[in-house]
């Protein structure tokens, strides 16, 4: 008997499409934002700089939809790895924050994002292994 397609597979495929389109929009708006930056009046520079945020909102919505629809073990692995990454990022941020007066330089806010995403990747790998 042929079974219908697995709903978790359908959810993943839909997520890949939504994520792919949103990232394509992000890349397009990054180029647009950078190309019109020099000709933009100073009062419009903040909205122009924030243009790429619009597709990132769609990325966020796609991630939320996927988390709601995903397989329960996948969700557990995701949530545990996010918690570990969030905790590690908070610990590192507070530690560095205390050392900023030491005096260490003030890093870009992108560093927090990079540390969190790296921590998520690493913790996801280890949490996933627990269930294999």
């Amino acid at each position: 008997m042929k079974t219908s397609q697995n709903p978790t597979t359908r959810a993943r495929q839909r997520y890949y499409w939504e994520f792919g389109f949103s990232i394509a929009g992000y890349v397009a708006l990054i180029f647009l934002s950078r190309s019109i930056w020099s000709q933009t009046a100073p009062s419009w520079r903040i909205p122009v700089a924030l243009l790429p945020i619009l597709p990132m909102i769609f990325v966020f919505a796609a991630v939320v939809r996927y988390v709601v629809r995903m397989d329960e073990l996948e969700r557990q692995v995701l949530v545990q790895s996010l918690a570990l990454a969030g905790g590690a990022t908070a610990l590192l941020s507070v530690t560095y924050g205390l050392l900023e007066g030491a005096p260490l330089p003030h890093p870009s806010a992108w560093w927090t994002y990079s540390v969190f995403m790296t921590g998520w990747l690493v913790s996801y790998f280890f949490v996933r292994r627990r269930y294999q």
């Binding site: 079974t3 219908s4 397609q5 697995n6 709903p7 978790t8 597979t9 397989d71 329960e72 073990l73 996948e74 557990q76 627990r130 269930y131 294999q132």
Partner: protein, 74 residues
């Protein structure tokens, strides 16, 4: 949590992927369940119970924790 999913699946002659499709989870979840490395949610346990037409306690092996055992003897 120990369980008899692998045996029950073999009785039906289903692959892990087929069982995963029937209860709407990823194949990796079946792998983790059969290895006893993942305790399913109650809704998933009931799905398995309906699919195999067995009570939950016939599919999953109860392992009482020390906390409950010591509480019951008080």
């Amino acid at each position: 949590m120990k369980n008899r999913i692998k045996v029950l699946r073999a009785e039906k002659d289903w692959s892990q992927a087929e069982l995963a499709d029937r209860i709407g989870v990823a194949r990796q979840t079946i792998v983790a369940l059969e290895a006893g490395k993942y305790a399913p949610s109650l809704p998933l346990a009931f799905k398995l119970s309906r699919l195999f037409q067995r009570p939950i306690e016939e599919i999953f092996v109860d392992e009482p924790s020390d906390d409950i055992a010591s509480h019951e003897t008080k």
